[in-house]
Structure formats: structure tokens, C-alpha cells
Amino acid sequence: MTVGQMRFRIALTALVALILTVLPLPTWLDVLRPAFLVLTVLYWSINTPRAGGIGLGFLCGLLLDVFQGPVLGEHALALSMVAYIAVREHQRIRSKPAFQQSLLVFAALIFYEFVVFAIDGWTGHPVTSPLRWLHCLTGAIVWPPAAAILSYSEGRLA
């Protein structure tokens, strides 16, 4: 597979994830909505660390900032941190069974949300509702099927 194909596929999945992220939903469902773009970045960082990595995390984070960040650069920083951890540990994470992967993804999502939470507070836009942490749980639950779908897209386009 060429780099171009890979790049195209990653961009496509990132776009789909972005649309799922900003799709208007009723409040109760919106709180439960997993952070699809974060999951996508995690998947590519773990499975193809050469193509999807810190740069991908940074760009996707910047996209998120444009759509829903109070400050530009907030999600970019958080996502590149998560991507960095995923790239560093990708071999260890990849070899784990799905359930343990889910647990690790849960930890990564908590870390991501904490970084965003901290920056929210420092920049003076705090959201203190405990509901903001809920998406980490649904994200971890959604991880195995999401990873399966992403790997299917990888196999089909390859």
C-alpha cells in the first residue's frame, strides 16, 4: 500500500469520525456520545504508528478545536499527548486481547479528558459537570467494534 492510499484512508475515517462527533443529538445522548475522533486517532496510532501518529493527533485536535473548542490548540495538545503515548506503547497495546485493550483505551480517554478539563479551567471556560467524564466509559465500550470497523476498512482498501 502506498503512502497516498494510507493517507487517504486515514483522512476519510477521520472525517467520518468528525461528522459523528459534531452530529446534533439530544442532550442525554450527547453526554453519552463517545469521542469518535479520539478513538480513530488511537486506532491509527496503535496499528500504523508510522502513518497515524502525533501529527495526526495534532491535526485532528485542531479540527476539534475549530468545531467545539473554546481555545484553539486545546484539543490539539490533548490529542497529540494521547497519540504520543499510543505510538510509544503501540506494540504492547496491539498484542493485548480486546478486553484489556478496552481498559487501556479507557485510561487514555480519562487522561485526554483530564487534559482538556485542565486547559478548560486554566483558560477560564470551566465545565465542572461530572457528566463530561461519561464519554470515557462509552468510548471504552465502543472500542472493540470501532476497532473492528476500522480494521475492516483497512483490509478492504488495501
Binding site: 502513518a51 497515524g52 495526526l56
Partner: protein
């Protein structure tokens, strides 16, 4: 982009530095961007461009809900349409009955304030806008609307619906604008209790419908069902627009402050359309003049430009002014009528004080200095019983 432009075959450490190095690079970049956006505000233009680029995605994302709404509307039965028509007709009749005395009251109010003629309404132009996206991000109370700079929208513009205040614009793109709702915890509206005139600040409650009044002392005169209207302070919202109704008041003997919760009057959760309003600069009730002029409509479809407010000014009042020899022909059409000069008095008495106070608040009215009758050279001559020269000192 280094992550993309790599040859997949090379070892991971070999290109563009180690992950640690690249992470440091991106992290520093992100922090710099954050600093520039938050502190220095250098990124207004970048944000403008990014918002323009994001607009197509937002439209696409909004298309399923709007398609659903369209389908539901087009399959409505004749019966329900008739019922709706009936309801609207009734409502219109009620509103007309309510506004029948408006002109007379406005004129009377002008008289009481010592003005020669009634003031034009403070709302100059308005423009309906469609809500594209509610809840741009989970727990913040934001809206995205389909009007932007091309329609003359500016940052910090008031957004209303037919019941009350909704919020104000924060980020304005070329075709879209982000609105922060009055119920967002980051938003605060200066309000006045309509019954008592007590002024305070209403902060968003963060749950989509409520506001909190955290700065009222425990002995403040406020009770359930009090109406809160904008106080006109703060420079964004004009005076006198309904905001919320007090829902509960807790007075705790130990606490120095009362805990007051109010429910927003606007139907934020069920609206699909909101109103952007331009206020008349130089009106006593308008917010303090801002740098961004409302008049600068740059380009765009004529159908999407703000509408001028219908001429509401009293024909009766104008006829009366003409009859009084006040050169009624000089009265411009009400839609762009400037603030009238207060009626000059022969003896400076405490009576004109309210009008003076009202106009002095407002730096945009050049002809406002109230006690001097000879303020406006271009104005129509004052009525016959007033002197043309400045008032003589009392002897």
C-alpha cells in the same frame, strides 16, 4: 504533516526525529497557539477562515435533522394546518389588540420624559436566522446560526426570540456565527427586576433553561414570579427586554446572599429560528455604542440582509408636531430618525433631569446636551413659547 509524509518501510525512529521529539514539537506548537488565541487575540483572522472552512461540514451534519423536519412539515395533514392557522390568527389578533395603544403610549412616554416627540423604537433592524447546530460541544450552551459577516452580523450582537433574550454572538464567521446562550455558565446578563427596579447580574445556570442571581443580598426585595428585564448596562443588550422569571428564592439566615434561580423566558430548547437584532445607535435605551457599526453590511444576497424595522413612529404625533408649527416637514422618516433634542425650557428646573440623564448616558448622540436649548443648529425651530437664545441666568 510529518506523520503523513513518511515512507512506511523505514524504521520508526528514523524519520523526522523520534516520537518524543515530534511530540515536544507539536506540544509546544499547541501551547503557542493557545497562548496566541487566549491572551494576545492574534488569531481572530485565522479563526474566521477556519470557521468558513468548517461551515460545509456543519451544513452536511445538520442536513439529516433538517431533512426530517422538512419531511414532517410537508406531510402535515390539512387538519393540523388549519388548527395552526387558527391559532396564529388568534394570536395575531391578540397582539394587535395589545399593540393598539402602543403609539399613544410611546408618545405619552416621550411627553413625560420631556421630549418633543416619541422616540423611535430601539430595535433598528432585525434578521431571522436558522439554528444549524445546538450544543457545539456537550455541556456548553452554544448555538450555531446560519448568518455571518456577509449579513452584517458582528461580534457581541444580541440574539432574541419572540419571548425574550437568547444570547449574544461570540465567534462570527463569513456565513455562520456562534451564539453563547444566556444560560451558559460563562455568560452573565445585567438585569433589572421589573417590579422594583433593583439591578443585578444574572449568570447562566448551565442546564439549558435556568439562570442564577448570585449577587443579591439576603434582604433584597425579590420574590417568585418577578420579571427580569435587561438593564441596558454592559454595552450589549439594550434596556427593557425580558430575560427571565424568578422561579425560586432561598433565604438562608446564615448566608449573606440570597439564592435566586430564574427560568429563561425564551424557548431555547425548542426554537428553530432566532432573531438577530441591530439597535439604533444613539437611542437612550440602546447599549453603549460599540466600535463595530451596525451599518456595515458588506455583501451577499439581498434576501438575506437585515430588514428595516417597520415605521412605527406615530403618524399622529408627527401631525401634531406639524400643527404646532414645529416644521413637521423637517421630521425625517421614523426609521432613521435621530434622537430628538429635548424640549428647551424657559426656566432650568429639575423637570428635564430625567431626559438629561437618559441622553447623557449615551455618547453617540452628539446633540444630546440637554439643558442647552440652542444645541442643534440644523434642527427645526422650537415652539413659539420658548426663547431662541440660551436661558438667561435667573435674577
Amino acid at each position: 504533516m510529518t506523520a503523513f509524509g513518511t515512507a512506511a518501510g523505514r524504521p520508526l525512529q528514523g524519520r523526522g526525529g523520534s516520537p518524543g521529539f515530534r511530540f515536544t514539537l507539536y506540544a509546544v506548537l499547541a501551547v503557542v497557539i493557545m497562548y496566541l488565541d487566549q491572551r494576545a487575540r492574534y488569531l481572530e483572522h485565522v479563526r474566521f477562515l477556519l470557521q468558513a472552512a468548517a461551515y460545509p461540514v456543519q451544513l452536511v451534519v445538520n442536513s439529516p435533522p433538517s431533512a426530517w423536519r422538512w419531511i414532517r412539515e410537508s406531510f402535515q395533514t390539512r387538519e393540523s394546518l388549519r388548527a395552526e392557522n387558527e391559532r396564529l390568527r388568534q394570536r395575531q389578533r391578540d397582539l394587535e389588540l395589545m399593540s393598539m395603544r402602543y403609539e399613544a403610549l410611546a408618545h405619552e412616554n416621550g411627553e413625560l420624559r420631556g421630549l418633543r416627540d416619541a422616540l423611535p423604537p430601539v430595535a433598528d433592524r432585525w434578521l431571522p436566522a436558522e439554528i444549524i447546530n445546538i450544543q457545539l460541544s456537550g455541556l456548553r450552551q452554544r448555538l450555531l446560526i446560519n448568518r455571518g459577516v456577509s449579513n452584517g452580523v458582528f461580534k457581541g450582537q444580541a440574539v432574541l426570540d419572540d419571548r425574550g433574550l437568547i444570547g449574544q454572538t461570540t465567534h462570527v464567521g463569513p456565513w455562520s456565527a456562534e451564539v453563547i446562550l444566556i444560560t451558559d455558565p460563562e455568560h452573565a446578563v445585567p438585569v433589572r427586576v421589573d417590579r422594583t427596579g433593583l439591578r443585578t447580574i444574572a449568570v447562566g445556570g448551565g442546564d439549558g433553561s435556568s439562570l442564577a442571581l448570585p449577587y443579591l443580598p439576603a434582604n433584597a426585595d425579590i420574590r417568585k414570579d418577578d420579571l427580569l428585564v435587561t438593564s441596558g448596562l454592559g454595552g450589549v443588550f439594550p434596556e427593557g427586554y425580558p430575560v427571565a422569571r424568578v422561579a425560586e428564592v432561598h433565604r438562608d439566615a446564615v448566608q449573606p446572599l440570597a439564592q435566586v434561580r430564574a427560568l429563561a423566558l425564551s424557548h431555547i430548547n425548542s426554537d428553530t429560528e432566532v432573531m438577530l437584532v441591530w439597535f439604533r445607535q444613539g437611542h437612550p435605551a440602546s447599549p453603549a455604542a460599540s466600535a463595530s457599526s451596525a451599518a456595515e453590511v458588506k455583501s451577499g444576497n439581498a434576501a438575506m440582509q437585515p430588514l428595516a424595522a417597520p415605521p412605527r413612529a406615530s403618524t399622529a404625533a408627527r401631525a401634531e408636531a406639524a400643527a404646532a408649527g414645529a416644521a413637521g416637514a423637517a421630521a425625517p422618516p421614523a426609521a432613521d430618525a435621530p434622537l430628538r433634542v429635548p424640549r428647551p425650557r424657559r426656566v432650568p428646573s429639575p423637570a428635564p433631569a430625567p431626559s438629561a440623564a437618559a441622553t447623557d448616558d449615551n455618547p453617540a448622540a452628539p446633540q444630546a446636551p440637554a439643558p442647552q436649548p440652542a444645541a442643534a443648529p440644523g434642527e427645526s425651530p422650537p415652539p413659539a413659547d420658548t426663547p431662541a437664545e440660551p436661558p438667561r441666568p435667573q435674577s
